[in-house]
C-alpha cells in the first residue's frame, strides 16, 4: 500500500508545474554553486602552490646568517584546501589560510578569505551546502505542507480512508515520496562536487548524502505532522514556515550566542597577553624568566664542572634559547589547550541544542566530512606548530653546537636551510570526522517520523 502511495505522490509531483519549476531552479542554483566552488577552490589551491613555492625560494635564498636569526626570519606554512571544500567551505573562510612560523611565538592563522569578501557576502556563502541547508527545508515544505491538510480540503481524504488506508501508511508513503523527490538534488550536488574535487573518498560522500537526507527527512516529517493536525492547508503553511524560521534561522543563531555566553572565549589580545605573562613570570606566576635562565646556567656549569659559560663546551646562548623555546611551548600547550577546551564545550552546547534544530547537527557534520571544520583547522595548526618547534629546535641546536666568543657570531649557510624542509600536508589523511551529528540527525528523523505517525493516528477526515 505504501508503495502505491509513493508512486502516486511521485506522479503527482511530476505533473505539478510549480514543483517542477522550483526543483529545476534549485538544481540550477546548486550547479552554479558547485561550479563556482570548484573554480574558487582551484584558484585558492593555485595561489597556495605559488605562495608556497615563493616562500620556499625566499627561505633558501636568505644567505649566511646566524640560525637564530633564521628562526626569526621564519617561514609561512599554508593550510591545504580540501577538495570537498567546494561543497562546504565550513569555517575555512573565517579562520585563516596561512601561519607564520617563527621563534618564540605560536601565531594564529592569517589571511582569512572572509576579510577580502565584499560586504554582500556577509549574508552567506553561495555553497551547495548552504543551499541545501537553507533552501532544502523550504523544498520539503513545498512538497509536504498540504500533503494531508490538502487531501482533507479537497475531500479526497474521506475516500482514501474509506478505502481502508491506514493514516500512518498515508503519512509514511508521503514522507518516502518527498524524500525521493529531494534525493536527486542532494545526490546530484554531492556527486558533481566529488567528481570536480577528484575526491576518492566515497564513504565520506555517502555519509554526507545520508546526513543531508536525514536533515531534509526531518523537515518533511515535521511538516507532515503539522499538515495532519492543521485545519486547512493555509494553516499548515503558516505552521511549516514558522518551523523553518525557528529551526533553520533562529535557533542556530541563538545557539551560537548561548554557547559563547556559557563558555566565553577570551579576546585575542587577552589571550596573548596571558601567554606573554606566563612566559615572563612563569606558568605559576612565581618563576620569572631571569630565574629560569640563571637556574639553567647553574645546572650547565655544574654538569660540565666549569666556572663560566665561556668554558662550556656548548654555546650557552643556543641552549638557553632552546630552553626558553621549550618553556614557551609548555605555556602555549597549556593556554591553547584551555582555548580548545572552551571551543569544544561551545560545540557541545550547540550540539545539545540540535534537538531544537537539525541544522545544528548537520552544520558541523557537513563541514567535518568536507574537511573544513574546526577539527581540520586545528589539526593543521597542530602540524604547523610541530613543524615550527622542530625547525626552531634544529636551528637552536645548530647555535648550541657552535660555541664561540660571541653567542651570535656563528653563521650558518644554505646547507642548513635546505635541510629544513617546508610543511607539506597535501597527502595527509583528513582527521576522522565527528559523526555524533549523524547520530543526532538519525534520532531527530525517527522522532519527527514518530510525531508524524502520532498525528496521523488522531487524523480527522473532515475539514
Amino acid at each position: 500500500m505504501i508503495g502505491r502511495i509513493v508512486r502516486h505522490e511521485l506522479r503527482s509531483a511530476r505533473r505539478d508545474g510549480r514543483i517542477r519549476t522550483v526543483l529545476l531552479l534549485t538544481l540550477a542554483l546548486l550547479a552554479v554553486a558547485v561550479i563556482a566552488g570548484a573554480t574558487n577552490v582551484r584558484a585558492l589551491q593555485a595561489q597556495r602552490e605559488e605562495a608556497a613555492a615563493l616562500e620556499r625560494a625566499n627561505w633558501l635564498a636568505q644567505g649566511p646568517k646566524n640560525p637564530h636569526a633564521a628562526a626569526h626570519f621564519g617561514q609561512y606554512a599554508f593550510k591545504p584546501i580540501s577538495g570537498l571544500a567546494l561543497f562546504d567551505r565550513g569555517v575555512d573562510r573565517y579562520l585563516g589560510s596561512a601561519v607564520w612560523l617563527e621563534a618564540h611565538r605560536r601565531n594564529t592563522l592569517v589571511h582569512r578569505p572572509a576579510d577580502d569578501a565584499p560586504a554582500v557576502q556577509r549574508f552567506g556563502d553561495l555553497s551547495a551546502a548552504n543551499i541545501l541547508q537553507w533552501i532544502g527545508p523550504l523544498l520539503a515544505l513545498l512538497l509536504t505542507f498540504a500533503a494531508i491538510a490538502g487531501e482533507r480540503e479537497r475531500g479526497t481524504l474521506r475516500l482514501l480512508v474509506s478505502q481502508g488506508v491506514r493514516p500512518q501508511a498515508l503519512v509514511l508513503g508521503k514522507l518516502a515520496a518527498a524524500m525521493l523527490v529531494l534525493a536527486p538534488l542532494v545526490l546530484a550536488a554531492l556527486l558533481a562536487a566529488a567528481t570536480l574535487a577528484g575526491a576518492t573518498e566515497l564513504p565520506r560522500v555517502g555519509l554526507l548524502a545520508l546526513g543531508y537526507g536525514l536533515y531534509l527527512g526531518c523537515f518533511a516529517a515535521l511538516n507532515l505532522a503539522i499538515s495532519a493536525r492543521a485545519r486547512s492547508s493555509s494553516a499548515a503553511l503558516v505552521g511549516s514556515l514558522a518551523l523553518w524560521v525557528v529551526a533553520v534561522v533562529a535557533v542556530p543563531r541563538i545557539a551560537a550566542d548561548i554557547a559563547a555566553w556559557a563558555h566565553p572565549t577570551p579576546s585575542e589580545h587577552d589571550f596573548f597577553a596571558q601567554v606573554a605573562r606566563d612566559i615572563k613570570l612563569g606558568i605559576n606566576g612565581h618563576d620569572p624568566r631571569d630565574s629560569r635562565t640563571e637556574a639553567l646556567k647553574a645546572e650547565l656549569l655544574a654538569r660540565y664542572d666549569v666556572k663560566t659559560v665561556e668554558e662550556l663546551p656548548v654555546n650557552f646562548a643556543g641552549v638557553a634559547l632552546q630552553a626558553g623555546e621549550e618553556y614557551g611551548d609548555r605555556v602555549y600547550d597549556r593556554r591553547y589547550g584551555e582555548l580548545h577546551a572552551i571551543h569544544r564545550r561551545q560545540a557541545e552546547v550547540r550540539l545539545a541544542l540540535a534537538l531544537l534544530s537539525p541544522r545544528l547537527a548537520l552544520q558541523p557534520l557537513s563541514a567535518a566530512l568536507c574537511g573544513t571544520d574546526l577539527a581540520a583547522h586545528r589539526e593543521f595548526a597542530a602540524a604547523a606548530e610541530e613543524h615550527r618547534r622542530a625547525l626552531v629546535r634544529r636551528l637552536n641546536e645548530d647555535v648550541a653546537q657552535h660555541p664561540g666568543a660571541s653567542p651570535f657570531e656563528y653563521l650558518a649557510g644554505p646547507e642548513l636551510w635546505r635541510e629544513l624542509g617546508e610543511l607539506r600536508q597535501d597527502d595527509a589523511d583528513p582527521p576522522p570526522a565527528d559523526l555524533r551529528g549523524l547520530a543526532i540527525l538519525g534520532a531527530l528523523f525517527l522522532l519527527a517520523t514518530s510525531l508524524a505517525l502520532a498525528s496521523a493516528r488522531r487524523l480527522h477526515v473532515d475539514p
Partner: protein
Amino acid sequence: MLRAEALTKRYEEVEALTGLELEVRPGEVYCLLGPNGAGKSTTMNLFLGFAAPTAGRAWVCGLDVQHHLIESKRHLAYIPEQVHLYPHLSGAENLEYFAGLGGSAVSGPEIAALLERVGLPAAAHHRRSGEYSKGMRQKVGLAIAVAKRARALLLDEPTSGLDPRASFEFSRLVRSMCDEGVAVLMATHDLFRARDLASRIGIMSAGRLVWEGGSGDLAGEDLERVYLEHVRRAAEEAAA
C-alpha cells in the same frame, strides 16, 4: 451485513444520533430519509469509523467498527454526496489508485471495463478528472466501489445534484450490485429515488429513527405524507 446497535452519537450538547437500531441484509437496499441534521450522515460516519459512537455499536460484516477500524473498511465501499478525485489525474488513473488502495489492483482492460460499466464515456477515461462534471465524478466513485467488490455499500446523498438520466443510471448500477448480494445503506432526501430503489425505508428526524417499513408498505403519496408528518412531529417535539 450492516447493523447498528443502540448507536448513539453526541457532539458536546447536541445529540446527533440516539439509540439507532438498524440492520441491512445482503442484497437489500435500505434508504434513510430525513431532513438536514436528522442524523443520516452521522450514521454513515459511524459505520465508516470516521467518528466514534458515544454509546452503542456499529457492525460491518460481524466486525465492531470501533475495534476493527481498518478491517471493517475492507468490506465497505463508500460514495459521498460529492466524489472528490485528484483533478490532475484522469478518471482511469483515479480508479487505478483508489481501487489499488482498497485492495483491488486493476489494470488497463479492467479499468476500461469498469468505467464502461458505470457509463463513463470512453473519450473521458483518460481526460483529467478536473474537467469532469459532478455526474462523471460520481460514476468514477461508483466504479471505485464496484472494483472493491465490497460486501456493503454506503451511499451518502449520491444522486444529489445529478440530472434525472444520470440518477437513473446510478440507480440501475446500484441495483445491479444489490443483485450480486451487496448490502446497500443509502442516505437521501430523494423520496422518489428511495421508493424506486429501496427494499426498506427508514425515516430519521432529530437523530432518531422515527419510522421504518418496506418499500411496498406505502404508495408514493403515502410515503411523502408519512415523511412530512414525522418530520413535523419531531420538529414540534424538539421545539417543546
